[in-house]
């Protein structure tokens, strides 16, 4: 078992694996040794660096998506309900 771990540890990460680990990396969910392998690969692979940056942009852009406000009628109805509950 220790031998296996050691072997895994020095195994360089390939692009296919990198792509699968991107969210775990962004979520801070990679164990230390995996994170080091991930970052080592990132430092030497332009394709994966670009992929990671695009994924970051996708996530940040989703955070920034402007969501439409409710219809005025819906808003009015809810405000009425809010008032009624306060008053009643």
């Amino acid at each position: 078992m220790p031998l296996f771990r050691r072997h895994r540890h020095v195994d360089p990460l390939v692009c296919r694996e990198f792509v699968q680990l991107v969210s775990d990396y962004l979520e801070g969910a990679l164990p230390e040794d995996q994170r080091l392998r991930f970052e080592a690969h990132l430092a030497e692979c332009d394709g994966c660096e670009g992929y990671l940056e695009d994924m970051r942009r996708v996530v940040d852009s989703l955070h920034a998506v402007p969501l439409a406000p409710p219809e005025p009628a819906t808003r009015e109805a809810l405000l009425r309900a809010f008032r009624d509950l306060r008053g009643g």
Binding site: V14, C15, R16, E17, V19, Q20, V22, S23, D24, E27, A29, C45, D46, G47, C48, G50, Y51, D54, M55, R56, R57, V58, V59, D60, S61, L62, H63, A64, V65, L67, A68, P69, P70, T74, R75, A77, L78, L79, A81, F82, R83, L85, R86
Partner: protein
């Protein structure tokens, strides 16, 4: 920090501050609608779920004990209503299953050695911010709408609404790992859906 914001908001809501309530509604209504839409078939059914949710929120405000954030509480109420509505429609929502497509399907660009055959397509960035270009951002929600239901609800709650992983696991009854798998597949697929917009233009 979020808890302090909550405290302030809660005080205003309980005091009957209409402006606070309106702000709260404007802020969350559309996200609630998007999440509801992943459970029920029609927009009008989703509207109904959201309306029921807001009324339940109003009725529950005085009893809210702040054991979770206000936002998470609202989404928990929504989720319960939406599940009930989905059951009424006899609709199955397979949120905890992972037999949805694998992202590697969308990234066929690897050789037998597992490396990129050629570098993956790049999405255009916004020159001023660390975001996608304005044009690509217009297609983001369509890409999310095209996802399988489990991926769609997870990416909506995590990346659009901004709930944290623990809350989403609890709301959807997912394990940590499954939540991350769904989130990752969703993001990878959304990215892949945007690629043709970049390639077709050139």
């Amino acid at each position: 920090m979020a808890v302090d914001d909550d405290e302030d908001l809660l005080i205003r809501l309980r005091a009957g501050d209409e402006e606070a309530f309106e702000e709260f509604v404007v802020h969350h209504d559309s996200a609630l609608r998007r999440v509801a839409r992943t459970f029920v078939r029609t927009p009008s059914a989703a509207d109904e779920v959201v309306q029921e949710t807001w009324l339940a929120v109003l009725r529950g405000l005085s009893g809210f004990e702040a054991r979770s954030s206000l936002r998470t509480w609202v989404f928990r109420i929504l989720m319960n209503r939406a599940r009930t509505a989905a059951t009424r429609e006899a609709r199955q929502v397979p949120f905890s299953t992972l037999d949805e497509d694998d992202p590697s399907v969308f990234e066929p660009g690897f050789g037998r050695d597992g490396r990129w055959i050629s570098a993956p397509a790049r999405l255009d960035g916004d020159p001023e911010r660390q975001l996608l270009s304005r044009e690509l951002r217009q297609h983001l929600l369509d890409a999310v709408d095209n996802l399988p239901p489990g991926q769609r609800v997870v990416i909506t709650l995590r990346d659009i609404v901004g709930l944290d992983a623990d809350d989403v696991c609890e709301l959807l009854d997912l394990t940590d790992v499954n939540q991350r798998v769904l989130l990752h597949r969703a993001r990878a697929r959304v990215r892949a859906e945007l690629v043709p917009w970049v390639e077709n233009r050139q």
